[in-house]
Symmetry: C2
Subunit: 496 residues, 2 copies
C-alpha cells in the first residue's frame, strides 16, 4: 500500500496522480503506456492520469501524490493507505468507438458517456474523442439525448413558479451586453429570471466579466437562489454554481480545441437552462458577415434545432434573429460596456440607442411569455419599466443583493486614437477584428482595457477623423493592440 | 521575466509547465482556460500545457517550472530568464477543424500537422482531435500523404544495399513470434533485415519483450546500425531508435484510446519501414474469428491498401494471409515464447511445428525477394538454413552483437492446470481470451508469466484432461488469471 500525499497543483478539470519512479511496490513504467491509473481504497475509487516523478521531495518512493482535484474527489486524508492498478477503460468508450465507425448512439449510451465524464473518468483526450466523433455528424435524436443527459447530472433549481424566463445570445458580437439590461427589466416586471453567464475565453468580455465591474458574480448556488428569491433576477457567473458539470467539463476541452458545432451548442445551452429551472427562453442569434452565424439559411437551421429540442424537453423557446453586422453600443471591454449598460438603464440622453433598442426588443419578447401581457404588449411594458427608472432600481437592488464590487475599475490610462483612412461613410465594422484588438489591449483580464467606438455603420467620416479609441493598462498589450489596429482597423469606409 | 526551474517529473510525450498561483508577473488563472502557454526566450520557444501550483517549494512565485520533457526541449539551464504568453494555436489545427467538417486534407496540410505534432506543439487532446477526425473517413490520397509525412520526420537509415527486407505482422495472435525465427534465417542468407519491434501494450508480449529474455533490445540507432552491418539482422525495440517520432507520439494517444483504423495502421507501419531503409516488406495478416481481421473480405481490402501505398512510395510489399484461428506455438508470454523460438531454431524434435511452418513460409516469401532465388525457391532455402543450424548460429551472433540478457528469466513459480470441461475435440481457441488471461497472469511485465498450451485445434480431449497451464510470479496476478480462466477458459470443445 502507498501513503497518500496531497500535492498542491491545480489540474482542473482532470485528476492527476504522481508516482515515484523509485517506487518499490509498483513499477511506475508499467502504467505509463496507458497513462491512466485507478486509485483504490476500501470503498472508494477514482481514475487519474499518471505523471512519473523523479524527485523524492515531491513524492517519496512509498507515496502516491494526488493533485488538488484528485485528492478532493477521493476524499481521504494525507497518509492514508491506497492501492493503485491499471485503470480499466470506461465501458462507454466502446460507444465512442462505435460512433467513430459511423453508428448512431442510443439514449442509454449517451447517458453512460455523460455519467462517466461527470465522474471524471475520462481523460481530456477521451473527452476530445467524444466531442470530435460527434462533431462531424449527430442525429437530432442524439442531440436531444445529449441535452437531457447533460441536464440530468448536477444541480437542478426549482423556483416554484409557473414561468421562469431566461435569455441567451449565441455570442460573437462585441459589446452586446443586453443581458445586463434585460434582466433588471424582467425582474422589475416580476418574472423570475435566474441568469447565469460565462466569462470570456476568446472574446474581449463575457457578461460575467462586465457584471463583475459592478458586483460580485462568483456566487454559490445557495446565494444565487437567495438573490433571485428576493430580487427576482440575478446576473452571476455560471462556472460557480455547478448547474451543468458535464457542460463545464466538455467546455474545458471544446474551448482549447475551438470546436463549436450547432448540436453541441444547443445541448450545452438548453441543458443549462433546464438545470437552472427555466421554463421559457428567448434565444438571440445575431446574423452578419463577421458574426458566428453568417447567413439567413444557417440561422433558420439553428432556430429549427433549438425549437425541436425545446419542444421535446418542454422548454418554450422563442428564437430572435438580430442584426449582427457590427458591435453593439460604444464600448468593448468590461468597464466600457458597463458604462454603456448603466447609461441605458439611467436613460442618459447620450446612451447608445442600438443597445437600448436591442435590449427592449429582447425584454419585450421575454415579457410576452407572461399570459397577462399577451398580444405583443411586452415591448411597451419593457419600455415603460426602463423609462420610469424601475429597471434601474431593480439593477441597483440586484447589485446590492449580489454584493457590490469591492474594487473600483478605471478605464486604462494608455489611449490611442484610431482615425479614418479616407472620406466617406462607414460601410461595415468587422466584429471579429474589433474583438481581437480589444482582447489584445488586455480585455477582459484588464477590466479597463478595450475599445470605445466613435463611429458606427452609416456614419459619414472624413479622412483623419477619429473612428475609435483603444484603451490599455499595460504597455506591452497597448503595443500589441495598436500595432494590430494599424495593420487593419476593421472599418470599411466607402462612398456614401 | 521568470526564472527557469527544472521539475523532475516525466510527462512523456507532452510538455508540461508549472506556474505559481502567487506569481506576481503573470496571473496564472489567465492562462487556465486555454491550458497551453508559450515559453519564450531569445530565439527559443516551446508550447507547454500549464499546471497551476500552490506550493512554493515546487515552484516559487518568480519561477517557471518545466517538466523533464519540456525542459530538455527548451534547451536552457536552470535559473535562466524566460517569458510566457498565451499560446497561439498551431495553424494546422484549422485543417483538423476542416476535416471534422468533412473536407479532405491536402498533402501540405497533412505535412504541417505532422510537423507540428513532431515539434510537440499539439496537446494530447489536439492529437486525439486529429486521430478521431481521420478515423471515421480518410481518402487513399490522405493515407498516402500521411505515410510520407510521417516517414519524412525523424531519423532515416540508409543501408547502401539494393535489397533491404523486413516483415511485419499486424498482430492479434498470441505466441506468434515468427520474427525471431525469420530474422536469423534471412540474415543467415545474407540479406540485410534491420528489424525493429514493439513492446506489448495490450497483448501479453511484443517481439521486443520476448527478445529481451535473450538479449538487450534498447539499442541506440548507432548500435542498431553496427549490429546490422556486422550480422545482417537485428531484433531491437523500435521505441529507442526514433525512426518515426510522429508515430511514437500518435501511438501514445491511439493506445489509451484504443483506436486502430486500417489507414492509420498502414501509415504507421509503412512510414516506419521507409525510415528504417527497407526496400521489400512481407506483411502477415492473420485472419480468424477472434483475430484482428475476421473476414477474407476485410483482409483483401487491407491488402489492397498496403499495396496501393507501397506502390506509391516505392516499397515492394508482399501481403500474406495466414491462419489466425488460434494462438501459434505453445507458449504465450515472453519466457515461454522465447523457449518455443529457440526450440524451433535448434530443430528440437518437439518444437512447435505450427510456429516452424509459419516462420518458414514467411522467411521463404522474404527470400523470394532475392533475384537469385526467384521462382519460389525461397521456401526451400529457408528450410535449408533452418535445418542446417545456420539460422541458429545467426541468432546466436545477433544475441551476442546486441548484448546477451544480463538477467536470467525463469518461468513463474505459481502454476495452475486448466482442464477440459468435456470429452470431444478442440474446435476453436479464442485468441483474445487467451491473450487476456496471459496478461492478467502478469505478462509481459513478469517475463515468466503466461500460458503454456497443451492442446490445440483438432486435438481430441477427455473431460478433466489438462488443456493448458497458467504461470504467474505474483499471487494477486495468479488469482486474477485463474479466476478469469475459470469463468471462460477460451476453449471450444465439441463432438469429433
Amino acid at each position: 500500500m502507498l501513503k497518500l500525499k496531497r500535492i498542491a497543483i491545480d489540474t482542473h478539470p482532470e485528476n492527476v496522480a504522481l508516482l515515484s519512479r523509485s517506487c518499490t511496490l509498483y513499477r511506475a513504467e508499467d502504467f505509463q503506456a496507458l497513462r491512466k491509473i485507478e486509485v483504490v481504497t476500501d470503498g472508494k475509487q477514482i481514475l487519474a492520469n499518471l505523471i512519473i516523478c523523479d524527485d523524492n521531495a515531491i513524492v517519496a518512493p512509498d507515496e502516491l501524490g494526488l493533485g488538488e482535484q484528485a485528492f478532493r474527489r477521493l476524499g481521504l486524508t494525507e497518509g492514508e493507505q491506497v492501492r493503485i492498478a491499471q485503470a480499466a477503460q470506461p465501458r462507454s468508450l466502446e460507444s465512442i468507438r462505435a460512433k467513430i465507425g459511423g453508428r448512431t448512439l442510443s439514449k442509454a449510451e449517451i447517458e453512460a458517456i455523460i455519467a462517466d465524464i461527470t465522474a471524471y473518468r475520462y481523460s481530456p483526450m477521451e473527452i476530445a474523442a467524444f466531442l470530435i466523433s460527434s462533431a462531424s455528424f449527430m442525429t437530432t435524436a442524439e442531440m436531444l439525448d445529449l441535452t437531457e443527459a447533460m441536464a440530468k447530472v448536477g444541480n437542478r433549481l426549482d423556483w416554484d413558479a409557473p414561468i421562469v424566463v431566461d435569455k441567451h445570445c449565441i455570442g460573437g458580437i462585441p459589446g452586446n451586453r443586453t443581458s445586463m439590461i434585460v434582466v433588471p427589466i424582467v425582474a422589475a416586471h416580476g418574472l423570475p429570471v435566474p441568469k447565469t453567464s460565462s466569462r470570456a475565453i476568446t472574446s474581449p468580455a463575457g457578461t460575467a466579466d462586465t457584471m463583475e465591474v459592478l458586483a460580485q458574480v462568483n456566487l454559490s448556488i445557495e446565494d444565487m437562489r437567495a438573490v433571485v428569491e428576493r430580487e427576482k433576477g440575478c446576473l452571476v457567473w455560471g462556472g460557480h454554481v455547478n448547474l451543468s458539470p458535464a457542460d463545464d467539463i466538455l467546455i474545458s476541452v471544446e474551448r482549447p480545441l475551438r470546436i463549436d458545432t450547432p448540436e453541441q451548442m444547443i445541448a450545452s445551452i438548453i441543458s443549462k437552462k433546464l438545470a437552472a429551472g427555466s421554463t421559457h427562453l428567448v434565444v438571440d442569434i445575431p446574423v452578419g458577415p463577421t458574426a458566428k452565424v453568417r447567413s439567413h439559411a444557417a440561422a433558420v437551421r439553428l432556430r429549427k434545432m433549438f425549437e425541436y429540442v425545446g419542444d421535446k424537453v418542454g422548454l418554450i423557446i422563442d428564437v430572435v434573429f438580430s442584426d449582427g453586422v457590427q458591435p453593439v453600443g460604444r464600448g468593448i471591454g468590461p468597464v466600457l460596456e458597463a458604462r454603456d449598460v448603466m447609461a441605458v438603464l439611467r436613460n442618459d440622453p447620450d446612451a447608445p440607442q442600438d443597445l437600448r433598442e436591442r435590449s427592449l426588443m429582447l425584454a419585450g419578447r421575454m415579457l410576452d411569455f407572461d399570459p397577462e401581457l399577451r398580444g405583443g404588449a411586452g415591448h411597451a411594458r419593457a419600455r415603460e419599466l426602463l423609462d420610469s427608472g424601475q429597471a434601474l432600481a431593480a439593477m441597483e437592488r440586484i447589485i446590492k443583493a449580489q454584493g457590490p464590487s469591492t474594487t473600483t475599475h478605471d478605464l486604462g490610462g494608455l489611449v490611442e486614437v484610431v482615425r479614418a483612412q479616407a472620406d466617406g461613410v462607414v460601410h461595415a465594422v468587422d466584429c471579429y477584428r474589433l474583438g481581437r484588438i480589444a482582447r489584445l489591449a488586455g480585455a477582459p483580464l484588464d477590466k479597463g482595457a478595450g475599445i470605445e467606438l466613435l463611429k458606427k455603420v452609416g456614419d459619414p467620416v472624413t479622412a483623419g477623423e477619429p473612428i475609435y479609441r483603444i484603451y490599455a493598462c499595460v504597455a506591452a498589450d497597448f503595443r500589441f493592440a495598436t500595432t494590430d489596429a494599424a495593420q487593419d482597423n476593421g472599418y470599411m469606409i466607402g462612398p456614401a
